[in-house]
């Protein structure tokens, strides 16, 4: 049903009172995360609600992978991005940035008791240091000559690798270090490096929205709402006092930080099986619907391409060959991004589901076309002659004589392709679809159980693919039944 909600949301996207804000819930605490699964939390989730309320609009979260949040903004899928985006000169030129809602340093985390642990930026030269890609921390590390390791999977991974000894240090934004660097085997140095300012990002053409957000932020600083919010999450820093222009420390306890640390050792099932399973069920449904729909497209289009290649007039056959080479020879991920983020430049705006369906279907059609072509070529040419001599037209001969024989060769690889497609469908998270693997990432970030959840999700993929493998074996037996007679 989430699929239909996604489809519907695109057609209704024009309704003005909503403030659609983009953020990646897989990133985790304290920004935006799901706890329990399906329930959005984090200081930015709260901030989005408060900002929207002051604008007289309803906040609606749009899930997107962190690296794609700004493209989503340009594409018009969201009105603002609110997800720990730093103010930089480049962004100031390309977007309308609000005043900061948080400011603070980068923090260096090292292994506790490591005698060679670096303590300054200068110490990092040549050392292996983990961080998140595209951040101020990454730029600082490169400038310092460190051997930089970046992680796409989430905020926990750099600290996990540091604890395992795969890196020597992690440099990341203070909130990340506060929430994920707090492991018994690690220690975060008290001195901070540099200064970060988080801002809300709107499209450059949306200066009025930016101005309205600035006024809302100003009023939230003046009436103490924002300082109290940050303090509850343990994020009230000296820099925040200075940059935000607020005064004093709000008299509230960092309850959210304490709650996070209190639950940091809890595993998957402490969250409750119900929410976990229903989130995974929704993800699996998206994966299954998308894969089946894409396979139907791939099989139909693939058959047409194969027929065009084998029996079509020369220009048509050449076009079909060009199609196959193009879609087989370029990465599926590239095709997905072009379909979703590139086509809007030509005025074609597809919903996430349609874009994912099209990209997967068009890509796999190339593979199916090759299967079907092999099948068509496996039928002796004289079979066509025999059919024609009996008076069958060319297409009648293909339909009634060639195709039924070709399918015995074409069908078995289709199952393999479907299972491959089922797995490749995990790539559609770049177009904001929350399918099974994305659900896993989000849940694993929230529950900190990568292993148990990973095995569960793996089993779900197997369970999704198995019925199709059996269906194909049954079909194969049926189609070749008459050939067994001869043996």
């Amino acid at each position: 049903m989430s699929v239909f909600a996604l489809l519907a949301s695109v057609t209704l996207a024009a309704a003005p009172p909503e403030l659609r804000w983009g953020a990646d819930a897989e990133g985790g605490a304290p920004y935006v995360f799901e706890q329990p699964p399906g329930h959005l939390r984090g200081f930015e989730a709260e901030l989005a609600q408060l900002l929207a309320a002051r604008l007289g609009r309803a906040a609606r979260h749009v899930q997107g992978p962190f690296a794609q949040l700004l493209p989503l903004l340009e594409r018009g899928d969201v009105d603002v991005v609110l997800n720990g985006i730093e103010a930089t000169d480049d962004r100031t030129r390309a977007y309308a940035l609000t005043r900061p809602y948080w400011a603070g340093p980068e923090r260096l985390t090292v292994r506790r008791g490591d005698p060679a642990a670096p303590a300054t930026l200068a110490d990092l030269r040549g050392r292996r240091v983990g961080t998140l890609p595209g951040t101020l921390a990454e730029r600082m590390l490169r400038a310092a000559g460190a051997d930089v390791r970046t992680y796409d999977g989430g905020q926990e991974d750099p600290y996990r690798d540091l604890a395992l000894g795969r890196t020597d240090a992690v440099l990341l934004d203070a909130p990340v270090a506060l929430y994920y660097g707090n492991r018994p085997e690690l220690t975060t140095l008290p001195a901070g490096f540099g200064e970060l300012r988080y801002v809300v990002v709107a499209r450059a053409s949306d200066g009025r929205l930016r101005d309205a957000l600035d006024r809302a932020l100003g009023s939230m600083i003046d009436d103490g709402t924002l300082p109290a919010l940050l303090q509850r999450w343990g994020l009230w820093t000296e820099e925040a006092v200075k940059v935000l222009g607020a005064t004093g420390v709000p008299s509230v306890a960092p309850v959210e930080l304490e709650a996070w640390r209190a639950r940091s050792d809890t595993g998957l099932w402490a969250v409750g099986a119900g929410p976990v399973l229903s989130a995974l069920g929704r993800g699996a449904l998206v994966t299954l619907l998308l894969s089946v729909a894409a396979m139907v497209l791939a099989v139909v289009l693939g058959a047409a391409l194969a027929l065009a290649r084998v029996y079509g007039p020369r220009p048509v056959a050449a076009l079909a060959l060009g199609y196959v080479e193009l879609f087989r020879g370029t990465p599926l991920l590239l095709q997905l991004i072009v379909v979703y983020y590139g086509l809007p430049e030509l005025g074609v705006r597809l919903s996430p589901f349609v874009a994912g369906w099209l990209a997967l279907g068009l890509n796999y059609a190339a593979a199916e076309a090759e299967n079907d072509r092999a099948g068509l070529l496996s039928v002796p040419r004289a079979q066509m002659d025999a059919a024609r001599v009996l008076g069958l037209g060319r297409w009648q001969a293909v339909r009634h004589v060639i195709a039924p024989q070709a399918i015995r060769v074409s069908l078995p690889p289709v199952t393999n392709d479907f299972i491959a497609l089922l797995k490749d469908s995990s790539l559609v998270s770049v177009v904001t679809l929350t399918e099974l693997t994305k659900t896993y990432g989000t849940l694993a970030a929230a529950t900190r159980d990568h292993l148990g959840l990973g095995m569960l999700v793996g089993a779900m993929y197997l369970a999704l693919g198995l019925p199709f493998a059996r269906l194909s074996r049954w079909l194969e037996r049926r189609l070749t039944a008459h050939l067994e007679v001869a043996r």
């Binding site: 079979q383 002659d385 025999a386 024609r388 008076g391």
Partner: protein, 221 residues
């Protein structure tokens, strides 16, 4: 029934447009058989493919009774001339009866089954109509191929090397099949290099050479 007439048939092939058939003429009356002998590469299969409508020709004409076919309309021969392939080319995904009824059924002929069963019966295949082609012997397959061709009520029947795919003891049966079809009044052309068969048929014999047919007398064989 009507005769098969071929006049001035020219077929050029290859980049040099060599005339494989060069003004070939042939006349086979209803109920008659013409045996065509010739070395391999002499153009025997080209002749059969032209007569069946599988290949066009550059000049001349092919006539089936009243129907006269010019080079531009060669494809009208498709479905009107039966051809028993050297390798039979039965449809492996269809049962024996379905092999025979497919084409008439697609043409929308009612009674396709009745006609097909009539030929299967005459060829002694009544018990095998539900069999798969792969389960049949070589001789049975050939009879199915004949029944399939005749179920389309062809104006002529062509045979391509009918003994080559058969066991020695089955080869003798072929002459009987040709004789049976002859009794049903259909003109036939049998392309073969099997001298035993050509002798057994007792028909007019021609040698294909230089793109034309020359009558063969007993002495010149």
């Amino acid at each position: 029934m009507s005769a098969l007439r071929v006049e001035g048939l020219v077929r050029r092939l290859g980049p040099e447009r060599r005339a494989v058939l060069d003004g070939l003429a042939l006349r086979v009356e209803a109920g008659s058989v013409a045996v065509v002998l010739g070395a391999s590469g002499s153009g025997k299969s080209t002749l059969l493919r032209c007569l069946a409508g599988l290949e066009g020709f550059d000049a001349g004409r092919v006539a089936l009774g009243e129907l006269e076919v010019e080079p531009s309309g060669y494809a009208t021969l498709l479905g009107r001339v039966g051809l028993v392939f050297q390798s039979m080319e039965l449809f492996p995904h269809l049962r024996v009866l379905e092999n025979c009824t497919l084409a008439p059924r697609l043409r929308g002929e009612s009674g396709a089954h009745v006609e097909a069963r009539r030929w299967l019966d005459r060829l002694g295949l009544a018990d095998l109509e539900q069999a798969w082609p792969q389960s049949l012997s070589g001789g049975e397959r050939q009879r199915v191929a004949i029944a399939r061709a005749l179920s389309c009520r062809p104006a002529a029947l062509l045979w391509d090397e009918p003994t080559s795919a058969l066991d020695p003891e089955r080869k003798r049966e072929v002459a009987g099949h040709v004789a049976a079809v002859r009794a049903w009044g259909i003109p036939q052309v049998v392309v073969t290099h099997d001298s035993e068969l050509s002798g057994a048929l007792g028909a007019e014999r021609y040698r294909l050479g230089g793109g034309r047919l020359e009558p063969v007398t007993a002495g010149t064989l």
